[in-house]
Symmetry: C2
Subunit: 336 residues, 2 copies
């Protein structure tokens, strides 16, 4: 049943196929999102709309739809659930930006800057609560368990990341645990719920979970590489944010582990917040290049992308499978 | 069926009867709370424990248990749901204190002061997510709808309160809307879910909802009165917090409405944050006393407490009903 998987050269991979595949469904999802972020309190749609209308790839809800298409699910239950996934993600972004004191998000001023931290915290809470209301409308306890469990794991991962911040002893293992929780858990849930609404067996659920989970890790690792990639210009967030916030991402963990005592002293100062100038950032990027830590991080990402692709290799070779494979290749290849 | 309700003189009312009634059940609830606030990330139980172990009346979960006793429900499903209610409340408190920049909570340093705002935001998110996980374990879609709807209404009310802050034109009607959402919705849900687990009819659900909702309004109004009551010494929060945060609570709304032009100018300056000294607070308390606005607020509270009591007057006159009536009397009589 398993067919040979033909892959594109990674650098040519794009989100094009998954975007086309899910375009119609995403129109439905987007109208649910717009409809359900409304409130009689005007600040709520204003703030939520700033972030939601502000773009973003909407990759997570797209994965729910693509997973449905992979299973040739013909219903519409997953539209509402895809909106739930995006609401959870949006609530997390709002709180992340407050916690990190971020200025920019998706190339625009962050919501916490425009509307203030109190509003960003409370509207995040609203979107989060609203996501639970939407889930209960679907009525499947199994879906509710998957999504509420993912939410709790995300929150745990966010706290774990906060605890690891500025901690030089953070290992690659610990970092992967954090990524698995704060990022990959929602990717996994987004894919898995499609198997539940399509009423497929446990094995199918687990394959889609594995696809989403590995893809999530690949995306996060590639994101973390971009922040120190000397060949990348602008990304959605401010270049060097991770550095100035003392985030122990994999490029830093590897450059620190591979570095000399003197270089480690630099990293210690930098992660403790004592080196935040543009020159310090340039030096950090130089050290990371010296130890090839951006490429090493991308290689790790490639490993997880490969696992994601293999997780769905047993499914029939339809357009959805091809689009999901290419999305995993894109995760690693992208430079933005 | 409805019996005459014999009430105590209000000043003698206490939480004693409801505390005794629910003592055994609350032991179960407390051990669920302690068990389910655990995490492998040590910061989570440390921060959650600071607030949860820090006391508080645990009135909301107690109301779930008392409502169960009122209906002579013999099961234990409501123990877990009572813990859910307390988790939602705790998450809200954590975020409130971040939003308000509060220093004190329940007579101790607030969690955001001890652990920082980022940790308080993220652990609040964790407790909130955990509460949803716990609800799904109960497995009743009806309970999930009631609690997730209450959560969304609370978040909406919190945003509404933020929008009304420092806005002198806030009316009593608007204020009651805010209180209905941010406080009374959870009281209502806490009581209502007992009728669902006891498998009682819609009418019973609505009566318990009405008891909780009116009691919640009464408690909040009495709380807001205490912050300006010249006869009250220390309460759990810092005296004058509402004043310094520019919160348009009912004592201020009434004193402003009843005041002279000169007094209104003072209130305008004060609510805009231009008058925050101890002398300014003393002057505010004097103006509120001049227009009897603390007593007027308490009278409004008494109105809602009466409605709460009448909402359950049709139930058999058991110990639970007596305890719930006295709790409503206590809501208005208390001076702390």
């Amino acid at each position: 049943m398993s067919a040979t998987v033909h892959t594109l050269p990674r650098s040519e991979a794009s989100l094009g196929p998954i975007l086309s595949l899910t375009a119609d469904g995403m129109n439905q999802v987007n109208s649910i999102i717009l409809d359900r972020m409304q409130s009689k309190i005007p600040l709520i749609p204003a703030l939520a709309g700033h972030l939601i209308a502000g773009g973003g790839k909407r990759l997570r809800p797209m994965l729910t739809l693509a997973s449905g298409a992979l299973l040739e699910y013909g219903g519409t239950r997953h539209h509402k659930l895809a909106a739930v996934v995006e609401f959870i993600h949006t609530a997390t972004l709002l709180h992340d930006d407050v916690v990190d004191g971020s200025d920019m998000r998706r190339g625009k001023q962050a919501a916490n800057v425009v509307f203030g931290n109190p509003a960003a915290v409370l509207v995040g809470d609203f979107l989060f609560s609203r996501s639970f209301e939407l889930m209960t409308e679907d009525g499947s306890i199994k879906v509710l368990k998957i999504l509420s469990n993912a939410s709790a794991i995300i929150a745990e991962g966010e706290v774990d990341q906060l605890t690891a911040q500025r901690q030089l002893e953070t290992t690659e293992e610990r970092y992967l645990q954090i990524v698995g929780a704060k990022t990959a858990a929602l990717f996994a849930a987004a894919c898995r719920i499609a198997a539940v609404v399509a009423e497929r067996d446990q094995d199918t659920e687990e394959k889609l979970d594995a696809y989403g989970r590995n893809l999530g890790v690949a995306f996060q690792l590639a994101d973390d590489a971009i922040d120190y990639d000397s060949e990348v210009g602008e990304s959605g967030k401010d270049k060097g944010d991770d550095f100035r916030e003392g985030k122990m991402t994999l490029p830093v963990i590897l450059a620190y582990a591979r570095g000399t005592d003197e270089e480690r002293a630099f990293w210690t100062d930098a992660m403790k917040g004592k080196r935040t100038s543009d020159e310090d950032l340039a030096h950090a990027i130089k050290l990371i290049a010296k130890y090839d830590a951006v490429n090493a991080t991308r290689e790790r990402a490639r490993h997880y992308a490969d696992r994601a692709i293999d997780a769905i290799s047993g499914f029939p070779a339809n357009a959805a499978r091809a689009a999901m494979i290419e999305a995993a290749q894109f995760a690693v290849a992208r430079r933005f």
